[in-house]
């Protein structure tokens, strides 16, 4: 009896599991809508068909991995926790701060967080890239493309 955890460490098995999850989620959600019939398909029709297909494929993946005697490809690179967290936090921070604090404050802050994705934080490098990118973004996006991004902090309104 193979160890469950090591089974799911295999890429194909984990993918199969993921697809089963997604298929189930969408499938259940599509049942909330009217399915209609083949003659008059409702909003839930197509999503349900797709979800079922996805469940089939996911099961096929799991089955195929189970059947193989030798393990298939495992995860190769180590989990890039640092890079992932840093990038995601940087992006979320941007979304949070831009409308509230404006471009000139947000970009340097976001850059500081992003910088931590790639090793040691160097003050000089951060300062230079913060200045360059903030200025560049302002010039290209606000002036050049007329995007009207907020540049300075907005006073909180209630």
């Amino acid at each position: 009896m193979r160890n469950t955890l090591s089974f799911f460490r295999q890429q194909d098995a984990a993918s199969g599991g993921l697809f089963l999850l997604i298929g189930t989620a969408f499938g259940c959600a599509s049942l909330h809508h009217e399915l209609g019939s083949s003659q008059r398909p409702g909003p839930g029709y197509f999503p349900l068909v797709l979800s079922v297909l996805l469940l089939l494929v996911g099961s096929a993946l799991l089955w195929r991995t189970w059947r193989k005697q030798t393990p298939t490809t495992h995860h190769t690179a180590p989990l890039a926790r640092r890079a992932l967290v840093a990038v995601v936090c940087a992006v979320l921070l941007f979304g949070l701060l831009l409308p509230r604090l404006g471009l000139f404050i947000t970009v340097p802050l976001v850059l500081a967080v992003a910088d931590m994705a790639a090793g040691k934080f160097e003050l000089r490098r951060w300062l230079i890239s913060a200045m360059v990118l903030t200025l560049f973004s302002w010039l290209v996006f606000n002036l050049g493309l007329s995007l009207n991004l907020p540049v300075s902090p907005t006073l909180p309104h209630f």
Binding site: S30, P78, V87, V110
Partner: protein, 501 residues
């Protein structure tokens, strides 16, 4: 001849100062990202999509197109000079190109790549012009069932020609299709899968999806794989022009590569990458000196480079005439057109003729610009390679964030981008390719609409889709493709072809 008249009109549009400027910008950007590994046309175009809102349709598309085929040119430069392919499709070029460079024949390799690409680009653009009209006429005979089957064929093609596990590619297409279902139902007006979130009522913005999955996800992967110091061939590149003998060697390969690339670019899921691999395999097979391959055969550079450029051009055909994007980049172009309110499909040619022919003409102009940009400016491009990724990726990140925000002036889109960034990383770790997902996502709503209309018309008869002649033919083709790939022999060949990935 009508073709000449259309081309004349096209050149009139393409040679306007504004369009020339945007073509140049596109080619410049394209070469730049082609040269820089870790930044590709998909990411760049996704990043630039928000700016399309502010531009007119023709300059926007011209620029984006320039980026795409420009990247093919740029990728070969680094492949040859430092054995680091800037683009996936330049992997093959590096095999012989780098060897040639080490033998002091970098100039010949670069010229072979450049000239071959230009020839291929010109021919392919002509093919595009010539086949556009007949294909469009064919497409006008398409009804809902036919469109549905065509999209099925497109998705099957994308799955079949994708690298890696076919089952996973199919699953990714399905996930993409499902994600495309998050919207307000066209026929009943009900909101689906929106969890009550108002911003999702128009669906997930595909720019957000593209940026998160491709742009940001790629950043994380690149950061993780580390920045290996590459050996730079800094010796001066002499003698840019190839000798008589080298010319002859390369010209046959160029022509063959052009033909091969032009055909493969049409296929859904095909495109530059497949074309370059196929051309290399072909050249090696028919060469009188196959043992030279891998040690510096000019044909091994000229062929693949011509092929990938030709494929990049002809992949516009299914997109412009039928509205079906054959690969991820074209899917983004479809998105760009929809942003400008242009519904891609056979009617584009008749409703926006200046745009259509202008785009085609500007592709030829762009190819010309690229050959000028690339050969003399090689030194400059090489200098750029010394920019460490550490400085590059924050810029990409910031541009993605700004781009996401600028779509609707809403932070929600930025948060969604972060979500898809996680998803992109997850898929990457699980060995699932994101490109089929993007294709499924773009085609999903169209597929559903066509399917439902077809079913309504046929009174619920599913077999009607399979029995109408054109539709049946398309589905048969799709089935054939799948069977072909599932057969063990082809499966092995396919794995071989993607060894280099």
């Amino acid at each position: 001849m009508e073709l000449l008249h259309n081309l004349a009109m096209g050149f009139e549009t393409a040679l306007s100062l504004q369009n020339l400027a945007y073509a140049f910008l596109g080619c410049l950007l394209g070469t730049l990202i082609g040269v820089l590994p870790g930044l590709g046309p998909v990411t760049t175009i996704a990043m630039l999509l928000p700016s399309v809102y502010g531009l007119d349709a023709a300059p926007a598309l011209i620029m984006l197109a320039g980026i795409y085929y420009g990247a093919q040119y740029g990728g070969s430069t680094t492949a040859i000079l430092i054995n680091v392919p800037g683009e996936a499709s330049s992997v093959v070029t590096a095999l012989d190109g780098y060897q040639l460079a080490r033998q002091g024949r970098a100039g010949a390799a670069l010229a072979a790549a450049g000239l071959g690409s230009f020839f291929a680009g010109s021919v392919a653009t002509l093919a595009l012009a010539a086949f556009a009209a007949p294909l469009t006429e064919l497409a006008l005979a398409f009804g809902n069932a036919e469109y549905f089957s065509l999209m099925v064929l497109g998705l099957v093609g994308a799955v079949v020609l994708a690298s890696g596990s076919m089952l996973k590619a199919i699953a990714m297409v399905l996930v993409g299709l499902l994600l495309g279902q998050v919207n307000t139902d066209v026929i009943t007006g009900e909101a689906r899968f929106t969890f009550g979130i108002q911003q999702l009522q128009d669906g997930i913005n595909f720019v957000v999806l593209a940026m998160g999955l491709f742009g940001l996800g790629e950043i994380i992967t690149n950061l993780n794989s580390g920045d290996s110091r590459r050996s730079l061939l800094t010796q001066k590149i002499e003698r840019l022009w190839p000798t008589q003998a080298e010319f002859k060697e390369g010209s046959g390969a160029t022509v063959r590569g052009t033909v091969l690339g032009s055909i493969l670019g049409l296929l859904p899921g095909g495109g530059a990458l497949l074309a370059s691999f196929a051309s290399y395999a072909l050249e090696k097979k028919i060469s009188r000196t196959p043992e030279n391959f891998g040690k510096g055969a000019i044909a091994g550079v000229a062929g693949p480079e011509s092929a990938n450029n030709a494929a990049a051009q002809t992949s516009f055909i299914p997109m412009l005439t039928l509205g079906i994007p054959p690969n991820a980049v074209m899917a983004l172009m479809v998105g760009a057109m929809m942003i400008k309110g242009i519904q891609p499909g056979p009617q584009v040619m008749t409703s926006n003729p200046t745009l259509f022919w202008g785009l085609i003409a500007s592709m030829w102009v762009g190819n010309l610009m690229l050959i000028v940009l690339n050969l003399p400016l090689i030194g400059m491009w090489v200098k750029l390679l010394t920019v460490p990724y550490r400085l590059l990726f924050p810029a990409i990140l910031v541009f993605c964030c700004i781009g996401a925000y600028s779509l609707n002036g809403e932070s929600f889109d930025v948060y969604m981008t972060a979500l898809f960034c996680c998803a992109g990383y997850l898929f990457n770790r699980l060995g699932c390719e994101p490109a089929p997902l993007l294709l499924g996502f773009i085609l999903g709503p169209m597929m559903e609409e066509n399917l439902r209309r077809a079913l309504l018309q046929s009174q619920g008869d599913w077999t009607a889709i399979a029995t109408r002649p054109i539709s049946a033919g398309l589905l048969l083709l799709a089935a054939l493709l799948m069977v072909m790939v599932l057969s063990p022999h082809v499966g092995r060949k396919r794995e071989e072809a993607f060894q280099g990935d």
